[in-house]
C-alpha cells in the first residue's frame, strides 16, 4: 500500500511538473539561440576556412584531452574504488579540485607550471615543444578541467561492480589483468563512457583556462568570446550554434555506445 501511494499518478504528476520546469529552463534558451539566427548564416560560417580551423582545434583538443583523461583517470578511479582508506579520500578531494576552482584560476595555476617562464614550460620549449599558445596548451587546459568528470563517474561505475565477481574470476584461475579486462571493465563501461562524454562536453566548452594557456590556436569558445567582445553578441550566435550542434552530436554518439553494451 505504501509503495502504491508513492507511485500514484497524482504524486508522479507533481514530480513531472516540478522537473518539467527545469527541463524548460534548459530548452528555452537553447531554442532561442537557434531561432535568433537564420540557418543560412550558420551554413555560411561553416564554409569559412577560419571557422573550420576553429572547430577542428576544439574537436581535436577535446578528443585528445578526453583520451588522456581516460587513460590516466580510469586506472585511478579503479584504484580508488578498491582502496577504502583515508588516503583514497584525500586523493578524491584532490581529483575534484579542478571542478571547484574557477576555470580562469585553473588557467593561472597551469600557466605557473607550463607557461613560458615556468620551469616545465621552459624545459619543454628547450626541446622544441611549446606548452602554451599551442594545441598542447589547449589540451593541457582542457584535460585539467575535464578529467575529473572521467575519474568521478568511473569511480561510481567501478564501485557498483561487486568485488565478489572479481574474487570469483580470480578463484577460477584468471589473473588480475584478465579479471579487470573481461569482468570489471565491461560491467563499468556504461559509467566510464558517461564520464568520457561529460569530459568531452566540458572540454569542448572550456574557455577560462584555455584563454590563459592558449589564446591561439583559437577554440570555439575563444572564437565566440572574440566575436562577442569585438562585434557584439549577435555575431557570436552562429558559432555558438555550431558549438551546440557539434557537442550534441558527439554526446549522442557516446550515449549510444554507453547504453547497455552487453545486450
Amino acid at each position: 500500500m505504501r509503495q502504491e501511494s508513492i507511485l500514484s499518478p497524482d504524486w508522479l504528476t507533481v514530480t513531472l511538473v516540478l522537473g518539467g520546469v527545469l527541463v524548460c529552463y534548459y530548452l528555452v534558451p537553447v531554442a532561442a539561440l537557434f531561432l535568433s539566427v537564420p540557418l543560412g548564416d550558420v551554413i555560411v560560417q561553416m564554409s569559412d576556412p577560419s571557422v573550420v580551423q576553429v572547430v577542428a582545434t576544439s574537436l581535436v583538443g577535446a578528443t585528445i584531452s578526453t583520451v588522456v583523461a581516460t587513460v590516466f583517470g580510469v586506472p585511478l578511479s579503479y584504484w580508488l574504488s578498491r582502496e577504502q582508506s583515508r588516503r583514497s579520500s584525500i586523493i578524491v578531494g584532490i581529483v575534484v579540485l579542478p571542478l571547484v576552482l574557477p576555470p580562469i584560476v585553473s588557467g593561472m595555476v597551469l600557466h605557473m607550471v607550463f607557461g613560458p617562464s615556468a620551469p616545465i614550460g621552459r624545459l619543454a620549449a628547450a626541446v622544441g615543444v611549446q606548452t602554451w599558445r599551442s594545441l598542447l596548451g589547449v589540451v593541457l587546459a582542457q584535460t585539467f578541467v575535464a578529467s575529473p568528470f572521467v575519474v568521478v563517474t568511473s569511480l561510481a561505475a567501478f564501485s557498483g561492480v561487486d568485488p565478489t565477481l572479481e574474487a570469483a574470476s580470480r578463484s577460477l584461475g584468471k589473473g588480475r589483468l584478465t579479471t579487470v579486462y573481461r569482468i570489471t571493465l565491461p560491467l563499468a563501461m556504461p559509467g566510464i563512457v558517461a564520464g568520457m562524454a561529460l569530459a568531452f562536453a566540458r572540454a569542448m566548452g572550456e574557455f577560462g583556462a584555455t584563454m590563459i594557456m592558449a589564446y591561439h590556436p583559437e577554440t570555439m569558445p575563444v572564437r565566440i568570446w572574440l566575436a562577442f567582445s569585438g562585434r557584439g553578441v549577435d555575431t557570436a550566435f552562429p558559432i555558438a550554434i555550431l558549438l551546440v550542434l557539434v557537442s550534441v552530436a558527439v554526446l549522442v554518439v557516446l550515449n549510444t555506445v554507453a547504453s547497455n553494451p552487453w545486450t
Binding site: D162, T164, S171, G173, G175, R182
Partner: protein, 339 residues
C-alpha cells in the same frame, strides 16, 4: 588432500582460528551459525582473504602465499557470483581450461535448456548449477562451496542437496561445503566440522556428530536437541531433578555434575503406567504441526526444564494428543548421551 595447519586470520574485526583441519578426497561440511567464520574460512583457503598465520596445503603444495588464481582451489559463492554480462554458456566457457569435456558437465547438471540465457533471468537453482559447472570446468584440485543452497526454496533445496551429494561422490577431490543448515550438512557430507566464533569445536561423521555431540554448543547446532543438567548417581544412573534414571554412564565419577542430551525424535510417548525409571509424567504445553509430524513441548512434573519431542502425525492422532493433555514420556537409555 587439503590441509589447514593452525590457520588464522583477522577480517572485519573478526578473528578466525587457529584452525587445524584435514580434508581427504571427501566432502567436509563446515556447520555453524551466521557470523561463526565459515565464509572467512573459505575465503582464506581460496586466497581471497590473507592468512595472518598458519598454512594451507593442497596435495603437499603450500598455497598460503599464492594469489587466488594460482591455488587450483575454486570457491563457489553463495549467490553463484555469475558474471551478469555473460550468458550461462559464456560463464562456463570463461572458466573452461579446455581439458574438461564441458558438454558432459552441462548434461550432468541439466543445463542444456538455459545455456544461452542471460544469467540474470535464471532461477536460484539454475544459477547454482551454472556456478557449479563453471567451477568444475576448471578441473579444480579442491572445491569450496559457500552455502550454495541458502537462497533456494525448500523443494528445490531438497532436490538439489541430493543431486549435489551424487555429484560430489563422482569427484575425487577435497570438497569443503559451508552451511548453517544441519540437514544440508548431514545429506551432503562425509564429515562435519562444527564452527563457532572462529573455532572448530568438533569434527565427526554426521551420524556420530548427531548422536554424540561433545559439547552443548555442538548439540545445539545439530538440531532442536534437549540438553539437561544432571549428576552421576551411580554406575548406571543419573540423578535428574531429584529423579534417578538409567543412562550410559561410561565410567564417570559418582557425584560428578554433567549435562546429558537426547534428540526430540528419541523421546517416545508411553500409554501404560510403568515402573520404568526413564518414564516421566507431564503435560503437553505446546503442540506445533509440522506437516508429517508434530513438535511437542512437555512440562514434566518433576523437572523445571521442558522436554521437546517429535511425533509422527499418525502417532499424534492415534494417541489423541492435544495441548494441556496429560501424558507419559520415555527417555530411551540408548539415545541418552552424556556430555
Amino acid at each position: 588432500m587439503l590441509e589447514l595447519t593452525t590457520l588464522r586470520t583477522s577480517y572485519d574485526a573478526f578473528d578466525l582460528g587457529p584452525i587445524d583441519l584435514t580434508v581427504e578426497n571427501e566432502v567436509l561440511a563446515v556447520l555453524g551459525p551466521s557470523g561463526s567464520g565459515k565464509t572467512t574460512l573459505l575465503s582464506t583457503i581460496a586466497g581471497i582473504v590473507d592468512a595472518d598465520g598458519g598454512m594451507v596445503t593442497l596435495n603437499g603444495t603450500e598455497l598460503t602465499e599464492r594469489p587466488p588464481e594460482d591455488r587450483d582451489v575454486v570457491l563457489v559463492f553463495q549467490d553463484g557470483a555469475l558474471f551478469p554480462h555473460m550468458t550461462a554458456r559464456e560463464n562456463i566457457n570463461y572458466a573452461a581450461t579446455g581439458a574438461t569435456p564441458i558438454d558432459a558437465l552441462i548434461e550432468t547438471l541439466e543445463l542444456t535448456e538455459v545455456l544461452d540465457r542471460n544469467v540474470e533471468t535464471l532461477s536460484g537453482g539454475e544459477r547454482q548449477r551454472v556456478a557449479l559447472a563453471r567451477s568444475l570446468a576448471t578441473e579444480p584440485g579442491a572445491l569450496l562451496l559457500d552455502e550454495p543452497l541458502a537462497n533456494l526454496d525448500a523443494p528445490i533445496r531438497h532436490r538439489l542437496r541430493h543431486e549435489l551429494r551424487d555429484l560430489f561422490v563422482s569427484l575425487t577431490i577435497p570438497i569443503v561445503y559451508v552451511t548453517h543448515n544441519q540437514r544440508d550438512a548431514a545429506v551432503v557430507s562425509d564429515r562435519i566440522a562444527v564452527i563457532h566464533d572462529g573455532d572448530v569445536h568438533q569434527v565427526d561423521t554426521p551420524t556420530e556428530l548427531f548422536a554424540h555431540p561433545e559439547t552443548p554448543l555442538v548439540a545445539s547446532f545439530t538440531g532442536n536437541v534437549n540438553v539437561f543438567r544432571a549428576r552421576i548417581a551411580d554406575h548406571d544412573r543419573l540423578e535428574w531433578s531429584g529423579r534417578r534414571m538409567c543412562a550410559p554412564i561410561d565410567g564417570r565419577d559418582v557425584g560428578q555434575s554433567v549435562q546429558f542430551c537426547i534428540r526430540p525424535e528419541h523421546v517416545s510417548v508411553v500409554q501404560s503406567s510403568t515402573n520404568n525409571p526413564n518414564v516421566f509424567a507431564g503435560t503437553v504445553t505446546k503442540s506445533v504441526f509440522q506437516g508429517s509430524s508434530y513438535n511437542l513441548t512437555v512440562q514434566l512434573k518433576h523437572a523445571t526444564d521442558p522436554v521437546r519431542l517429535t511425533l509422527s502425525s499418525r502417532t499424534y492422532d492415534r494417541l489423541e494428543l492435544a495441548e494441556q493433555e496429560q501424558l507419559r514420556i520415555k527417555l530411551n537409555t540408548n539415545y541418552i548421551h552424556i556430555i
